[in-house]
Symmetry: C2
Subunit: 328 residues, 2 copies
């Protein structure tokens, strides 16, 4: 267990280091704490013993370790309320009645990304949670038409398909069959249902059924698994710990591959979760802070992704504000 003073020292080091990413020495801390640098050094070495601080080399100041940040976030960080300026900028987005919820979310995440210089992410609901609501077909020209798929949660996707020697009649018949038979099915089960329930039937009633079946099958099997929106990826290029091209490349590749982000959102209570360094699964220098949100039939995950050396208090306050505002 840490003494009261050790907590203070750790807190000061973390906050100092977050402001300015250079190892913090005992002298700096002794100025704000009412004691000598030697005393601080003793406390520091205790904190290092406990695994909360690290040295970059034998004789330089301390840097918080992953556990140090964790301790800070879990025990030391004071819930900060948002500054008036931050609040104001977000409010102008939220109070815009014109915008639909998903637009509000994306716009406000853009604002947050610009204010903080961190990357933000929205994950929508998965294709498992989206139920097929309606299919529309619009012919474009000879042999080519657009299939539009709408889900109950308002997710829309479309695909241009090519058909040879299939009359519009036949297409309409098929669409009607699908609309009658499998409305309400989770998107990720539609392909299977098409095969076992629709294929046998259109085989009887529709000419060119093979081609039509294949086309629709692809529309659904290509359906996005989860809507992912990453805003402000380039912000990483402004963070000093990512001055190395290799590191940037690795982080960008992970951010482009949404599957990794999915892992983030396993748990689904409503609290704000903080994944520090290696916990982020993105990079040891990256922290992910996320929360789930739910509003009517819309739900998903918001995340802010930045360096481990993140303004935790500010980001947590913003995410909390976001969630509260979305949920009403």
């Amino acid at each position: 267990m840490l003494t009261d003073r050790q907590c203070k020292v750790l807190k000061l080091i973390v906050e100092k280091y977050i402001k300015d990413p250079v190892p913090v020495g005992s002298k700096t801390i002794s100025k704000t704490l009412k004691c000598s640098s030697a005393t601080v050094r003793n406390e520091m070495s205790a904190l290092e013993e406990a695994g909360l601080l690290e040295k970059t080399h034998t004789s330089s100041g301390r840097v918080p370790s992953e556990e140090g940040y964790r301790y800070y976030v879990d025990h030391l960080m004071e819930p900060k309320k948002m500054t008036g300026e931050d609040m104001l900028k977000l409010q102008t987005v939220f109070h815009n009645q014109q915008l639909s919820l998903s637009d509000v979310i994306v716009k406000s995440l853009q604002v947050i990304s610009d204010m903080t210089n961190y990357t933000t992410v929205v994950l929508g609901s998965t294709s498992h949670e989206n139920l097929l609501k309606q299919i529309e077909v619009v012919p474009i020209d000879e042999g080519s038409l657009i299939v539009i798929v709408i889900t109950d949660r308002g997710h829309v996707e479309h695909k241009n398909i090519r058909l040879q020697d299939v009359s519009l009649e036949e297409v309409k018949k098929t669409v009607n069959l699908i609309n009658n038979l499998i409305i309400g099915t989770p998107i990720d089960e539609v392909s299977a249902k098409l095969e076992y329930e629709v294929k046998p039937i259109i085989g009887k009633y529709v000419k060119q059924h093979e081609q039509l079946y294949n086309a629709f099958y692809h529309v659904f099997s290509d359906f996005t698994n989860q809507e992912v929106n990453v805003v402000g990826k380039n912000k990483f290029l402004q963070q000093p710990e990512f001055s190395n091209i290799e590191k940037i490349r690795s982080v960008f590749n992970k951010l482009d591959n949404p599957e990794l982000l999915h892992k983030i959102e396993k748990d689904d209570d409503n609290n704000i979760k903080v994944y520090i360094g290696s916990e982020s699964k993105i990079d040891d220098d990256v922290t992910v802070i996320k929360t789930r949100f739910k509003s009517g039939n819309q739900e998903g995950t918001l995340a802010i992704i930045g360096p481990k050396r993140m303004e935790y208090d500010r980001v947590v306050a913003m995410l909390e504000y976001m969630r509260e505002n979305i949920e009403r």
Copy 2:
């Protein structure tokens, strides 16, 4: 005018430098050319005089200047035919009958980006060239519905809008009015036409017309000006001339801002165009190679973006192959 041998020297230097980005010395060239290094040095200094070569410092090998690349592209480069391997990989995409044209284009550009480690871009037709074909409306829940806009070229866009106290009846009436009055209008003129032709009419026939009008107005004024698809932006992180974070940041910002890419496609004959270094308007170390394509009612621009030190012959061959295959 350059002598025959000067051309050979320039060509060798450019090609050598493209393979391996270190300044090329006279000795290297003298090996392939049947003459001494001193002779090559004389030719080199003539080429430098002519502005086609540059030195990184007083005593190191030569590097092609922007004009050097230009000369190479315009006069020296031999039209290369694609290697069997490159061809094969692209053919498997083109021969996939399932895919629509736009899918084929994006997929093959992905393949090209992976083969070459350059970034690729497709620009679709602009909202000026797309004519409104149809509007569909799907109610999602109380007070919220999705508007889907389809253009004659198969471009689809949708927007979630919120309406208060507007019955579905009224919405349908409005949609019918729009579908009757302004089908066939270029997308970028729809907003204006809504105001002058539709607004006065729905004012008479539709309750809550103000709100409905505003919602539809926004759907069209937010319509994407031009479909832009940038594939493999991260490839820049693998190019040695972009090892500097500042440079990467500047290039990424330009690539994210499609308006700059539009400038590229002013001219519209069908030839392949090469914009080297400063001509690219992106970065002095960037080259853009592009061509327009047209196929049925689809048209647009393909571009490959990479370092100035690009495999010009290979990229030109690929773009040519792409265009030919798209156009039938």
